[in-house]
């Protein structure tokens, strides 16, 4: 199902969380709302889910105006950063909740919850309480619970934000595969650019209550609309007064007309990469990212004179 937001504004007292935001989410896709904390992305998600009412503007899901429809009638699935597990119910009953509310027959509930628990690899934990699960397991339970009621759209608010890096990575890849399987329109809020670029078909960069840019991950990375998007989506450095990606700076060991003269101040190996801190003849400090093989081939050394130019 598609999601459209039109001119949505939301204030909390004097603070403007969303400032005339419009958004169009394609049906069946996985869209990431990316931006710094306090930028308004969670508020936008909560407005779509019916957990906040916008001061002005409208929200449509599958073409239907949902702006004043309460959350319990919207048919959306929502996953929270801190799981929002029903601690007093077993994992099974947590997942069954949406179906029990709809008074579905017992066998149907049992079958459906069984399938979902299998999908999120928790079939062995059906009788446990949420408190007996790890963070990653709890979040998978929350995802199964949200999917049980067959939502028209799935909304995830920093779903992996409370997990450690390793589990985060795994769940991220797993969410991507799950989405390809279930095919429900999904919007995920994250402040982690790596997460957004890796998981989403489309990324919406939100900052100061406004949409900065919308596009596929590659396009945002390669053709950022402004300095904010450029800085937020990956490493940057300044060369000749312009923001560039450090891996887009080419180091030459021979003088060249179009290149800026500079001196290598420091060489540092970071795993597979080499980070070269350089100072241009005008005194500008920049850094260049290059592979170890490339650095070896150039025979770079601290104190060496080099020439810099941007690629592409």
């Amino acid at each position: 199902m598609s999601i459209q937001a039109q001119g949505v504004t939301k204030r909390f007292g004097p603070f403007v969380a969303l400032d005339d935001v419009s958004l169009d989410v394609r049906p069946g896709g996985l869209t990431a709302l990316l931006g710094p904390s306090g930028g308004g992305k969670s508020t936008l998600l909560r407005v779509i889910g019916g957990l906040e009412t916008p001061d002005s503007g409208e929200v449509r899901i599958d073409g239907r105006d949902m702006t004043r429809v309460p959350a319990h009638e919207r048919g959306v699935g929502f996953v929270f950063q801190h799981y929002a597990a029903f601690e007093h119910l077993s994992v099974f009953r947590n997942v069954a909740f949406g179906l029990e509310i709809r008074k579905r027959p017992k066998d149907e509930i049992r079958r459906k919850v069984g399938e979902l628990l299998e999908l999120v690899h928790l079939e062995a934990f059906a009788d446990r309480r949420p408190a007996q699960l790890s963070g990653g397991q709890r979040q998978r339970m929350a995802l199964a619970r949200a999917l049980a009621a067959e939502p028209s759209v799935l909304l995830l608010d920093e779903p992996f934000g409370a997990l450690d890096t390793k589990v985060r990575r795994e769940l991220r890849a797993w969410l991507r595969r799950l989405h390809d399987e279930v095919q429900v329109t999904t919007v995920v809020v994250t402040h982690d650019q790596e997460e957004a670029l890796e998981v989403a078909d489309e990324v919406v960069v939100v900052n100061h209550g406004r949409v900065e840019q919308v596009g596929p991950p590659d396009e945002l990375y390669d053709k950022p609309a402004n300095d904010f998007v450029m800085e937020f989506l990956g490493p940057v450095t300044t060369l000749g007064g312009r923001l560039v990606r450090p891996h887009d700076v080419e180091i030459l060991t021979e003088r060249s007309a179009s290149a800026l003269p500079a001196r290598v101040a420091r060489l540092q190996r970071v795993g597979f990469d080499v980070r070269a801190d350089v100072t241009t003849s005008e005194g500008e400090a920049a850094w260049v990212q290059l592979t170890r093989a490339h650095a070896d081939a150039l025979a770079l050394a601290e104190g060496a004179d080099v020439w810099l130019r941007t690629r592409g």
Partner: protein, 303 residues
């Protein structure tokens, strides 16, 4: 369904195994009880350290002097005259009548204040309104006032010439008991309500639960133990209340509660009779406290 977590992921994800994930809840519970036994034995074998030994000593001594000895003395006093006179003392028409009234009034007060206390706690925690801090303060007044003063306060509004005349009626006694037992449930529920994660309620709403369903199925279960323990204390307090009901009762036989009946016997030098009445009050209160405790455990287990 082909989605899989890579095996290393699955391995790191598994939480420490707890209990038995058996089929039926009953079987699981029995198994857990069996598992627990060795733990308890281990604990008993372990000698107490100096700190906890002293602590335990102080606890037992204090509890004995202040609570257990007087209780035992009353029960002994009641038993001293023999089973026959004990039974006679507690089955006189007025003894039975005042006991029935006391239990009934306490039960009504407990139910009303369990509901109202929960509502008040909800409003105090979840809503913002001018004068909220004043209300917070007012809630505790029944605790802070000496009970005879509470009796006077109730009399001022519900006595002869008050706003509503409930003087010398059973309704008047119930109102006085409502007044003195109100804070129990409010103060028991408030901290638990503050600690509730509201995203759970929002999650339930997005799953299709209307607000009343959210309250019944998501908010109430975690609050239940607090409501039950507040209600148990309110009931016990109402059973033994004397000062606040003394004035409004008007000294009639029909509005007499058991504590007043016992005091009457004491004044008439019928010490065994007073002790027998006290023992009955003790047994009823204890039974209700235990009942609430069992109810709480059952609810906690069932979820």
């Amino acid at each position: 369904m082909t989605t899989t977590l890579d095996p290393t992921g699955a391995a790191t994800e598994v939480a420490a195994p707890v209990g038995v994930s058996g089929k039926g809840a009953r079987r699981g519970r029995a198994a857990r009880r069996r598992e627990r036994t060795p733990d308890v034995a281990d604990q008993q074998r372990r000698p107490l350290g100096v700190g906890s030994g002293t602590g335990l000593g102080v606890l037992v001594l204090f509890l004995s002097l202040v609570v257990l000895l007087p209780l035992a003395a009353v029960v002994l006093e009641a038993a001293g005259a023999g089973w026959g006179s004990f039974w006679d003392a507690i089955t006189t028409p007025q003894a039975v009548r005042s006991l029935v009234f006391t239990v009934t009034a306490s039960a009504i007060v407990t139910v009303v204040n369990a509901v109202m206390g929960t509502v008040i706690a909800w409003v105090l925690v979840r809503d913002e309104f001018p004068g909220k801090r004043l209300v917070e303060l007012v809630i505790d007044i029944p605790f802070a006032l000496p009970t005879i003063v509470a009796g006077l306060v109730v009399l001022a509004v519900y006595g002869r010439g008050g706003v509503v005349d409930l003087f010398a009626t059973r309704g008047g006694v119930v109102v006085a008991l409502l007044f003195v037992t109100l804070p129990f449930v409010v103060r028991a529920v408030q901290p638990v309500l503050i600690g509730l994660d509201r995203s759970r309620e929002q999650a339930a709403a997005t799953l299709g639960a209307r607000p009343s369903t959210v309250f019944r199925r998501i908010v109430l279960p975690p609050l239940f133990p607090a409501i039950a323990s507040g209600a148990a204390l309110a009931f016990a307090r109402a059973m033994g209340e004397y000062g606040s009901v003394l004035l409004i009762s008007g000294g009639l036989a029909k509005t007499q509660v058991s504590s007043m009946y016992a005091y009457g016997l004491y004044e008439a030098y019928d010490f065994p009779g007073a002790a027998a009445t006290a023992t009955v009050l003790l047994v009823v209160s204890l039974a209700v406290l235990i009942g609430f405790e069992l109810l709480q455990r059952r609810v906690a287990r069932r979820g």
